[in-house]
C-alpha cells in the first residue's frame, strides 16, 4: 500500500469544514493546508504492526574485506571463544555490526548534528562530528596503521597476545585513531560488541542464541507467571527469539 491511509471524512472534519467555510470563505479553505488528521475510528490499523525487519544476506555491505577481517579479529579479543561460548565473530557480531553501521544507527540519524562544534567536558558527552559509521571507518584505519607501525603486520594477522596489547592500548587511549575521539570509539566498541552478542538474533548477531544460552537468559519470552514462585531453582527454559528458536520448535 502506497503512502498513507485514505482520507476519512469523519465527524470532526465535517464540523471543521463547516466552520471554516463560514469563517474564511470557500476559496480560503480550498487554498489552506489542512491540519494533520488523526482518525479515532481508524486507530487500529490491521496489517500495519511495526514488527522489526530481520537482517538479510550474508555479504558485508559496510565493511570492506580488510575492514571486516580487522573487526572480526578485534571483536574476538573483546569476546574470545572459550568453553563458555563462541567468540564474537562466530556468534555473528561482526556481521551484526556491519548491518548496524550500514543503517540509521551508522548514519547517526537520531543524533543532534548541528554546529557549532567544540569539545566539552566529559560530563557533556559525545561532541564529535563523526557519525558512528565514520567513527569506525576512521578508527579502523588508525588501528591498522598502529599494527603496521609496531609489528609490521596487519592487525588481523597478529597473534592473540599482540592483538591484546593493541586492545589494551586502545582502552588507555594510546592509539592514534586518525584524529577520531579515542574514548568515544572504545566505549562504543564495547557497547556494540555486547549488543551483537546478546541482542535478538534477528539483527544478525547472537547466532544460535549463543549469548543467551551462555547466561541462561530465555530471550523474548513474555510469560513467566508459572516460575515466579520457584525461588532459587535453576530453570531450563529453551530460548526464544522474536522470529523463532528452540522454544518455538519445541512447541510444534
Amino acid at each position: 500500500m502506497a503512502n498513507r491511509k485514505p482520507t476519512v471524512l469523519n465527524r470532526r472534519s465535517l464540523l471543521t469544514g463547516a466552520f471554516a467555510v463560514s469563517a474564511l470563505g470557500g476559496a480560503a479553505l480550498a487554498r489552506s493546508p489542512q491540519p494533520p488528521d488523526f482518525d479515532p475510528g481508524n486507530r487500529f490499523r490491521p496489517d500495519e504492526a511495526d514488527a522489526p525487519a530481520p537482517v538479510t544476506g550474508e555479504r558485508y555491505v559496510f565493511f570492506s574485506q580488510e575492514e571486516a577481517a580487522l573487526m572480526a579479529a578485534l571483536l574476538d579479543r573483546i569476546i574470545p571463544a572459550d568453553d563458555l561460548g563462541p567468540g564474537a565473530d562466530e556468534a555473528g557480531v561482526t556481521f551484526f555490526l556491519d548491518r548496524q553501521l550500514s543503517g540509521g544507527f551508522g548514519a547517526g540519524q537520531s543524533y543532534y548534528m548541528q554546529g557549532p562544534w567544540s569539545s566539552g567536558t566529559k560530563q557533556q558527552g559525545y561532541q564529535t562530528r563523526l557519525t558512528p559509521a565514520q567513527l569506525y571507518r576512521t578508527a579502523i584505519a588508525g588501528i591498522e596503521k598502529h599494527a603496521q607501525a609496531h609489528y609490521g603486520k596487519s592487525f588481523a594477522d597478529l597473534d592473540a597476545s599482540q592483538q591484546d596489547a593493541i586492545v589494551t592500548a586502545l582502552e588507555h587511549h594510546d592509539v592514534d585513531l586518525n584524529g577520531a575521539p579515542r574514548d568515544q570509539f572504545f566505549s562504543l566498541l564495547l557497547t556494540n560488541a555486547s549488543e551483537g552478542y546478546f541482542a535478538d538474533p534477528l539483527y544478525g548477531g547472537n547466532r544460535n542464541m549463543a549469548g543467551w544460552k551462555m547466561l541462561g537468559f530465555p530471550g523474548a519470552h513474555y510469560d513467566y507467571r508459572p516460575y515466579v514462585a520457584q525461588h532459587n531453582k535453576r530453570l531450563s527454559i529453551p530460548p526464544a527469539g522474536i522470529y523463532g528458536g528452540p522454544a518455538w520448535e519445541n512447541g510444534k
Partner: protein
C-alpha cells in the same frame, strides 16, 4: 505572522502523555471541547509494541525506538553557569518521550506518594533543623498531602496500582510502608508476587529492624477494570517494562487506562505530528489566545482556545514558556524571576551483590516495579541532626529485568573486555542482584533552565539550556543512602558487596533516570513560582501547566504518582472553580 487560523476549541492540550490524557478525559466529561496536539506519532499496543515483538532490547533501549530523537530537538547542558553549554547530541542520562502516551508508555510503573513533609520541605526542615543553606532554593508546594490524598487515590484507581497499604486512615497495617501518609483505602490490587532476590532483601532489612514492604506497582497483580471501565490484564513478569511498551496490556499507561474511552468521545480530538511552537497571547500579554503549531510537512497553524494547558515533558513545558515570553526568566545572579528556576533531578546509586553460584535468582523474571523497598531513610523519616543534609530517598531491591545487554553485573576489578570479562558476566548473571537508592535533589540557586544563545532546533528556535550539578546536599544524602543500602546488602550474606557511590559532577552520559523536574515551579508566592497551587500561570490565568515541571524540588521517589495526583487536583479546580468564574484562582 504565518499560520492558518483554525476553528477555536474550548481547551487545547499541548502534549498527549499521561497528563494530557487525564486532563482530556476530565474536561470532556465536564462538557468542554478538547483538542490535544501531540508532536509525535500515534502509538498503540497492537501496532507499535505488540507482544510478538515488544521484547527487543536492541530496538527499544539501545536504538531508542520510543524516545524523542535529539535530531528533532534537544537541550544544551553544562554543570555550572561559568561553563559553555554544549548540546546533548545523543540520549543518555534521561529518556524523554515522544508520541501518544508519552513516557507513560515506557516507564517502569513505580508509583509512589510523596510524604506529607515533602510538601513542606522548607518550613518543615527549618522548624526542625534551623536555617537551610542560603543557596538552596527549596520551597513549600502550596498544597499539602491532605489536599492531594483524594487525587492520589483517584490516580491509583485509574491505574490499578498493586501494593500493600501501610497507613489506612492512621491505622498502621503490617507489611505496608509505615512511613506513608494516611490513605483512605487500600491499593486497588494486592501486591505483586515476589521473586527470590527481593525476598532476601526483605528478610535482611527486617532483621536489621527496618520496615520493608512490597513496592507499589503499576504492573497488574491480577486482571483489573478501572473506573472508566477500561480493562488491564495480569502482569506476566516478562521483564521488559522501562524503555519498552507493554505488549500485554498489564502496565498502566494512557493507552491501557484512558485512551479507549477518551478517543471515542466526540468532544475530544487528537492531532498527532503537531508540534506546538509557542503559546499565543493577546496584546496585554495577560491572556492566552491559543497556540501556534507546525505539522510534519512544515505547515503552521494558529489554534485558538479559551484555555491552554501545557502537558509536554517537564523541561519542554519550561522551554515553551520561555519561547512564548510568558513569565520572568530566572537569573542566577540576581535570584529574580521564577521561570526556569528550581530545576532538579534525582540522585541515584546502586549496590551490587554477588552471591555464590548456589543462589539462583532468574533475574529475567521481572516487572518494572517488582521489588521490596524500605522508606526508613526517605524524606524526614529519620533524624538528620549532624548529617549535613536534608531529605533522603527510598532504598529498594528491584527485580525489573535480566536483559542481557543492560544487566551485566561484574565484581569490581573485572576487566572491561576479554576472557575474564566474559567469564565474570556469565558466572554472575544468575547469582547477582542490585539494591538501588533513589535520592532527592534539592533545588539550588545555580541549577536552572534558560534559552541557549548558540544552538537551535529544527524549527529555528533556541534550544533549552540546562545548568545543573549535584551539590553538597545531594552527595552527602546519596553517600548516606548508599551506606545504608550496603548495610542491608551485607546482611543478605553475599560473597561480595560493591557499593557504587555517586561521585563527582553530574554527567548527562550514563543513564540515571528520566525524572527531570522543576522550571515552572508551583507555590503560593509569585516571586518564586510560575504557577499557583492550582497549576495556573500567575501571569496568564487561562494557561495551566501540568507535570513534574511544577515540582519546586524533587523528593526521593519516582514522580508519576504525584504528577497524577496534581493533575486531578488541578482538573478539579479548573472544572469546579475556574469554569464558573474564569480568572485567577489565587490572588497575588
Amino acid at each position: 505572522m504565518s499560520g492558518t487560523t483554525l476553528p477555536a476549541v474550548d481547551v487545547v492540550l499541548v502534549g498527549f502523555g499521561w497528563t494530557g490524557a487525564m486532563l482530556g478525559q476530565e474536561l470532556v466529561q465536564a462538557g468542554l471541547k478538547v483538542l490535544a496536539l501531540e508532536r509525535g506519532a500515534w502509538r498503540d499496543t497492537s501496532n507499535d509494541f505488540a507482544v510478538t515483538f515488544a521484547q527487543d532490547e536492541l530496538r527499544y533501549y539501545y536504538r531508542h525506538a520510543l524516545f524523542e530523537e535529539p535530531s528533532q530537538g534537544t537541550i544544551t547542558f553544562r554543570n555550572t553557569p561559568s561553563q559553555h553549554a554544549l548540546p546533548m547530541r545523543e540520549l543518555g542520562s534521561f529518556l524523554p518521550a515522544t508520541g501518544t502516551g508519552g513516557a507513560g508508555v515506557h516507564w517502569n510503573g513505580q508509583t509512589w506518594r510523596f510524604l506529607p513533609s515533602d510538601f513542606k520541605v522548607r518550613s518543615h526542615n527549618e522548624q526542625r533543623y534551623g536555617a537551610l543553606d542560603p543557596d538552596m532554593t527549596v520551597q513549600d508546594w502550596g498544597v499539602t498531602y491532605d489536599d492531594l490524598e483524594p487525587y492520589y487515590d483517584k490516580f491509583e484507581y485509574l491505574c490499578g496500582i498493586s501494593g500493600q497499604a501501610g497507613n489506612l486512615n492512621g491505622e498502621m497495617v503490617p507489611g505496608g510502608n509505615p512511613f506513608e501518609g494516611p490513605r483512605r483505602r487500600g491499593y486497588p490490587n494486592p501486591p505483586l508476587d515476589m521473586t527470590y532476590s527481593p525476598e532476601l532483601f526483605r528478610k535482611a532489612a527486617h532483621d536489621l529492624g527496618l520496615h520493608p514492604f512490597t513496592a507499589p506497582a503499576a504492573n497488574m497483580s491480577q486482571p483489573y477494570t478501572n473506573w472508566l471501565g477500561v480493562r488491564l490484564g495480569q502482569c506476566t513478569y516478562c521483564g521488559f517494562c522501562e524503555k519498552f511498551g507493554c505488549g500485554n496490556y498489564s502496565k498502566s499507561s494512557p493507552q491501557t487506562t484512558i485512551h479507549p474511552v477518551l478517543l471515542d468521545n466526540p468532544d475530544f480530538e487528537l492531532r498527532t505530528n503537531s508540534t506546538v511552537l509557542r503559546v499565543l497571547t493577546d496584546s496585554t500579554g495577560k491572556r492566552a489566545t491559543g497556540v501556534l503549531y507546525v505539522d510534519d510537512q512544515g505547515n503552521e497553524y494558529r489554534q485558538p482556545a479559551e484555555i491552554v494547558v501545557l502537558c509536554a515533558y517537564a523541561y519542554h513545558n519550561t522551554h515553551l514558556m520561555l519561547l512564548s515570553g510568558i513569565g520572568q526568566p530566572y537569573s542566577p545572579e540576581s535570584g529574580k524571576g521564577a521561570l526556569g528556576r528550581n530545576y532538579a533531578y534525582q540522585v541515584v546509586s546502586g549496590v551490587d551483590l554477588f552471591f555464590d553460584k548456589d543462589k539462583v535468582f532468574n533475574p529475567f523474571i521481572g516487572a518494572g516495579a517488582l521489588g521490596v523497598a524500605i522508606d526508613d531513610y526517605n524524606g524526614d523519616n529519620f533524624d538528620h541532626s549532624g548529617l549535613g543534609f536534608i531529605g533522603g530517598g527510598y532504598i529498594c531491591l528491584w527485580n525489573t529485568n535480566g536483559r542481557p545487554i543492560e544487566t551485566q553485573r561484574v565484581p569490581p576489578g573485572t576487566p572491561k573486555w576479554g576472557a575474564k570479562w566474559k567469564r565474570a558476566v556469565a558466572e554472575n548473571y544468575m547469582s547477582s542482584a542490585s539494591i538501588s537508592t533513589h535520592g532527592a535533589v534539592m533545588s539550588h540557586r545555580s541549577n536552572y533552565l534558560d534559552l541557549d544563545p548558540n544552538y537551535r532546533n529544527i524549527h529555528g528556535q533556541p534550544l533549552l539550556r540546562m545548568t545543573f550539578d549535584f551539590k553538597d546536599n545531594e552527595h552527602r544524602l546519596s553517600d548516606y543512602l548508599t551506606d545504608q543500602a550496603a548495610r542491608v546488602g551485607k546482611a543478605m550474606n553475599p560473597k561480595q558487596v560493591h557499593a557504587k557511590y555517586r561521585k563527582g559532577n553530574y554527567s548527562i552520559v550514563p543513564y540515571q533516570t528520566t525524572h527531570n523536574t522543576g522550571g515552572t515551579a508551583m507555590g503560593a508566592d509569585p516571586s518564586t513560582s510560575v504557577v499557583n497551587p492550582y497549576l495556573q500561570s500567575w501571569d496568564v490565568p487561562n494557561l495551566f501547566v501540568m507535570g513534574a515541571s511544577v515540582f519546586p524540588q524533587n523528593p526521593g521517589y519516582n514522580p508519576t504518582g504525584t504528577i497524577g495526583a496534581l493533575t486531578y487536583w488541578s482538573a478539579n479546580a479548573i472544572i469546579n472553580r475556574y469554569l464558573k468564574s474564569p480568572g485567577p484562582l489565587m490572588q497575588t
